[in-house]
Homo-oligomer: 425 residues x 2
Amino acid sequence: MKKLSEMNHEELVAFQKDAEKRYNDFKALNLKLDMSRGKPAPAQLDISMSLLNALDNETLCSSNGTDYRNYGILDGIPEAKEMFAELLGVESDNIIVYGNASLAAMYDNISRAMTHGILGNKPWSKYDKVKFLCPVPGYDRHFAICEYFGIEMINIPMDSDGPDMDMVEKLVSEDETIKGIWCVPQYSNPSGISYSDEVVKRFAALKPKAEDFRIFWDNAYCIHHITDTPKLILNIFDECKKNGTEDMVYEFTSTSKISFPGAGVAVMAASKKNVDSIKSQLGISTIGFDKINQLRHVKFFKNAEGLKKHMDLHKEIIAPKFDVVIEELEKNVLPLDAASWHKAEGGYFISFNAMNGCAKRIVSLCKEAGVVLTGAGATYPYGKDPDDSNIRIAPTYPTVDELRKAMELFCICVQLASVEKCLSK
Amino acid sequence: MKKLSEMNHEELVAFQKDAEKRYNDFKALNLKLDMSRGKPAPAQLDISMSLLNALDNETLCSSNGTDYRNYGILDGIPEAKEMFAELLGVESDNIIVYGNASLAAMYDNISRAMTHGILGNKPWSKYDKVKFLCPVPGYDRHFAICEYFGIEMINIPMDSDGPDMDMVEKLVSEDETIKGIWCVPQYSNPSGISYSDEVVKRFAALKPKAEDFRIFWDNAYCIHHITDTPKLILNIFDECKKNGTEDMVYEFTSTSKISFPGAGVAVMAASKKNVDSIKSQLGISTIGFDKINQLRHVKFFKNAEGLKKHMDLHKEIIAPKFDVVIEELEKNVLPLDAASWHKAEGGYFISFNAMNGCAKRIVSLCKEAGVVLTGAGATYPYGKDPDDSNIRIAPTYPTVDELRKAMELFCICVQLASVEKCLSK
């Protein structure tokens, strides 16, 4: 294969014809594969099965006699708070253990900011408009929350070490209506990029014009490494302490991709001041979350070290899948010099950047041949990728063999869409 | 004992002196008992312990292969929807299985009505003021939600067969800003009153001025009987169908007081139109609730009949406690003819009406002697009982012996507060 840019018209036509033939051969296989979401594979769920019986013969009481089967304890059982505090490098006092979904915790905090404001500041709904900064490509469910509440989203380009911090610093310092930013600092969804130390330090040193500006630090993949030498991001709260900005950060994580999606435990970390305020409001909507499930998790994982060890088992299952994606791309797309991607070292995604104007076409070609990808555009606010370029590849759910086939197809679709683009110039 | 009203001054003083002596004797016992909330007793939690292992050797997939350990299914697993549909007498399509707390489901619906409105109607937050009708005495956590969102609460007196329906009908037909009413139709919290057939029919036939008026039908105690011959309320959706008013009702229940508070399953029933709209919004805040816990409940209870049978075990434990309360009141307060109460046939509370102006004093006297009751006034919006009369007695948590002691003390405090009141006239 030659670079597309170096092919003449005849070569392009010939390449197209060949790719079409290979595409049609694939269609005849009648593949049926859903790679639209970042779902763990059944094999990953199997390794947590004994979590379900972790409470056998266990007392369901705390050391002070609190019965975890009964009502009470708004912010999580002490053992769970301790485990997650250790994981996130904060104190137990900084932890609220939520229900089964960190997304719900994020939603909840934005919903309350809309109706009641943060720490005594004006409710966001009382402004004509409030805005969030959205590093792109990003996580569609983050953007959906903003869209639902009518929060205007401003795209922030992602560099190789995190969001464009010059732009972030400038915008938040000037505009009082910018109230938040979405960050997935470790193995970003979908780019897989981890924020450099400098980026984390610049976040912690932000001087936003809005007192109620909050960094939504969605640390969903904090221990979701797929290499043996993970590069860890800095603890943002440590950096904030140096700047006196602890109130500016809401950190979230969960065990959704550690134990079971839907039956895991979600966690928020924040300054004591934020935690106290959130608890006083949270108590209106619930008496408490599922303490028995919290205890189940603590008995199974024991501590932060146990959580990390468990992730090694996940790594063994999913790292080969990430390899398949990269191998296929390097074999079938790299030579064309018509696309780029980031070789993720953790998380759940590989972010693929096609030639501008090709993403929708690629996703549609894949779909027609039986492989459903995340919709093109989904990684951008309002579902609008201005370049129609980014595609989120979610390699974890299929088996290695299924994934190999799907990626072969994907590469053919990339070839087809790219050559079409060249021919239409 | 004579009726207080028939005692002369000397008799009152003598009675007071005697009651004070008995009160001081109690104080010397150093009781320490919290009867402030309606909590199941440990013995009630013990009967559900095998629920925790209900998934042993079970497949965690649906019949169509959906893996309940993974992401997906916003509105509950089909088996759980079916069980709760049967329980509430609706179709599966009318059910949303929520997380662990029906309170959170109620909060969620009010929160979204505030920010987004119901079925295309104007968001409640866009009104200068919206109002809820609150049958009193009622449930403090319902009122707290309204207070949190600045929803004005209007007291509706409870008759012996439900709320004053003349007043309800008049108010909702006249005032477009009245957006809802809180109802606990079976064994009301705290009065223990169940709505008569006529009351349910009149609710279903309401013609509210506001299209987005909703009856929050909190059927928390639908199968929480403590007699062998329970009087069941009518199925409100059946009645609504006759009036074409199915959209007007949001019904809630949960297994919090069937399996485990905090680790149970909450449910909402509503018209298909409401369910569809709620699901479309709910999907912004979560991918789904805990399906494994839903399955655990289905495997343990099997079906609606299983839930009802399980409640017989609860009845055996708590019915004797309700008897103790009534016995003590009949022995030590009835002769004074200075208070009233409703002999509940189910639910979690006995509602006690002291002489006007005595509730706070009684609660304070009890507290001083080591028994914490629900705060006086808590059963009214804004914590303000206009008569300072109502006290919610929660008999389930203490043992029978503890409860006997606590009720002896309670009766002495009632005697004391009542005689003080008579003497101060």
